[in-house]
């Protein structure tokens, strides 16, 4: 069953077609890779999918629901969560609070109950803490729950960003160059984390990546972008064997 259905998506910035006639279908449970040289428009696609930019043309459907004109918050609530190329954590908050921010749309009490610490406050906070700890355990961050996010080592910051995204209970997870700036060891660990997310949550993942090894190692399908257009789309093996892809990558 198709979870994400993107049709004829286009956007221009001052005459430049950053993304042009972009199509993408992702099945539920798939791990899909979006690759392409620098400036090909990969992050722009993410920004379109998450409502940061509004497309000039095209339709984005998530689970049958049209989300093209929704804003970032509504899209998150509709079921898309993301991470960022340059990690964006809530740096001056603790690890567990980062995750609890992600949980806050699912575990609710009123502002007044929050300010007075009465009513549902205690019960919901307790449930929230339990849920957050469960998530942190999955990502092996439970030992550092009270550490400030900015004091985590790089690899763990990446993990926390994924954990926070997962806390919003998404249908689709977008990962923007998760291996950027990582050493081979950290990359290896990240691949394990991504596999874990799929296993634990049955998550559908769309991943932007530069690191070809990572892509060929875990992605089932690929879309190659070049100059804002789809160059090639399909099973990982076939795509990587495509002479045009090799040409785009090697010059």
């Amino acid at each position: 069953m198709t979870l994400l259905d993107v049709n004829k998506l286009s956007i221009s910035f001052g005459g430049l077609r950053a993304v042009d006639d972009f199509n993408l279908q992702i099945e539920k449970g798939e791990l899909y890779g979006l690759i392409g040289p620098n400036g090909a428009g990969k992050t722009t696609v993410f920004n379109l999918l998450t409502g940061v930019y509004k497309p000039n043309e095209g339709i984005i459907k998530l689970d049958g629901e049209d989300i093209t004109r929704k804003n970032t918050v509504q899209i998150n609530q509709a079921g898309i969560a993301r991470t960022f190329q340059n990690i964006r954590l809530f740096k001056q908050m603790s690890v567990i609070d980062n995750v609890k921010v992600g949980l806050s749309e699912r575990f609710k009490y009123s502002t007044l109950e929050g300010v007075l610490h009465v009513g549902k406050y205690r019960k919901v906070e307790k449930e929230m803490n339990e849920e957050a700890m469960k998530l942190l355990k999955v990502f092996d961050l439970d030992g550092e729950k009270d550490t400030l996010a900015s004091n985590l080592p790089y690899g763990k910051q990446r993990k926390l960003e994924i954990a926070r995204a997962m806390a919003t209970n998404p249908k689709l997870l977008l990962l923007d160059e998760p291996a950027a700036g990582m050493n081979p060891n950290e990359t290896k660990e990240l691949m394990d984390t991504i596999s874990l997310v799929r296993k634990e949550f049955g998550m559908t993942i769309l991943l932007i990546e530069h690191d070809m090894k990572l892509v060929s190692g875990i992605c089932e399908k690929l879309t190659v972008l070049n100059f804002g257009r789809v160059l090639c789309q399909g099973e990982t093996k076939e795509v990587l064997a495509n002479p045009e892809v090799i040409k785009a990558y090697l010059g």
């Binding site: 960022f84 809530f90 502002t111 929050g114 919003t168």
Partner: protein, 347 residues
């Protein structure tokens, strides 16, 4: 539940300080000059808490917070003056708080609509602008009352066109005189404790976390499903309301209330900012302690008064560089390990 413990310490410090001052006063160990400082000291602590909510928790610099204090002071003083002969003291003062806080919150909301669309420097300068606008308009405002009801003017008291028995309540730059002297140290401390209760609880709730998430990274907060406008407004309105409460204490502690630059101009707002910065941005308890010490100390050490503002300005600069300069932070990490570096927002 370390945080909870932390909050209790703050209440404890305030209550302990209250008891010590009360004992000192009862045993005659407090000069009348010092007794006169207790209420102002406390309402400065209240407004410092309010500003820290805006600067430390919401992460937006306001240099017009005394404007909200001004609104709270004038609306509540107006209410008390009008109902002076109608209501008994206790309900009148409670209602005065309701009026002052509600109006400050209302202005916080109205001003928040344009202000919160801006960021950083622009936001700061617009809060300054609003603070000055509030002060200037109140200075040009005349309100009188007679048997026909209220009369308004922006020109002078004569323009009110009242019956001979009418009374001018707000007299332009002369402000409001003869507000009942309802505020005292005990009530001020209760207000401070309530302000602390609200802010500290807020910080440890889902709304508070959403607010801090926006402060730390608005783009990520939005992508995590946080409605930025809503939570920014929530923090700003609560902050304005608490500043309004400080204003109610202010106006009910003096006989002649004027919207002077000394108390409500941007220099006064900057003074509060000094308290917040010295107490630690985001550290609510620190704001209370810093406000009390910085307010009382120069009043007691008269020799210091001449150099007070100079010293504060140097403190402000040095604190910012020590706490925020990337090079200094690196150096401190190398020298003392990472644990000495600012622990972020604790409340």
């Amino acid at each position: 539940m370390k945080k909870k413990y932390d909050n209790l310490i703050t209440y404890g410090i305030v209550i302990l300080a209250f008891i010590i001052f009360q004992v000192l006063a009862a045993t005659g160990n407090l000069s009348s000059h010092m007794r006169g400082l207790l209420v102002p000291m406390t309402y400065y602590a209240v407004i410092a808490v309010a500003l820290n909510l805006c600067v430390g928790i919401l992460g937006e610099l306001s240099i017009g917070h005394c404007g909200f204090m001004c609104i709270g002071a004038f609306t509540s003083a107006f209410f008390s003056k009008v109902t002076q002969n109608v209501l008994p003291t206790a309900p009148r003062f409670i209602l005065a708080f309701v009026v002052g806080i509600a109006f400050a919150a209302l202005f916080g909301f109205l001003i928040g609509i344009p202000v919160l669309r801006l960021k950083g420097d622009y936001l700061a300068i617009v809060t300054l602008a609003f603070g000055e606008i509030i002060k200037t308009v109140i200075n040009a405002f005349y309100i009188g009352i007679d048997k026909h009801g209220l009369h308004f003017s922006l020109k002078n008291a004569m323009e009110l066109g009242m019956e001979p028995d009418g009374e001018v309540i707000v007299n332009g730059a002369m402000g409001i005189t003869g507000t009942p002297h309802d505020a005292n140290f005990t009530i001020s401390i209760v207000v401070l404790l309530l302000a602390l209760f609200v802010v500290q609880n807020l910080v440890n709730s889902r709304d508070g976390r959403a607010i801090m998430a926006i402060r730390d990274n608005a783009i990520a907060a939005e992508a995590t499903g946080i409605n930025i406008t809503k939570y920014k407004m929530l923090a700003f309105v609560i902050s304005a309301a608490i500043a309004g409460a400080a204003g109610v204490l202010y106006s009910h502690n003096i006989t002649s209330l004027t919207a002077s630059s000394q108390y409500f101009g941007f220099n006064a707002s900057i003074m509060i900012l000094v308290y917040v910065v010295l107490g630690g941005i985001g550290n609510i308890r620190g704001s209370v302690i810093a406000a009390c010490i910085l307010y009382v100390l120069p009043e007691l050490l008269r020799g210091l008064n001449t150099y007070r503002m100079l010293i504060y300005s140097i403190i402000l600069i040095v604190m910012m560089i020590v706490n925020w300069s990337p090079k200094v932070i690196d150096w401190r990490k190398k020298t003392f390990g990472r644990f000495t570096v600012r622990k972020g927002a604790k409340a």
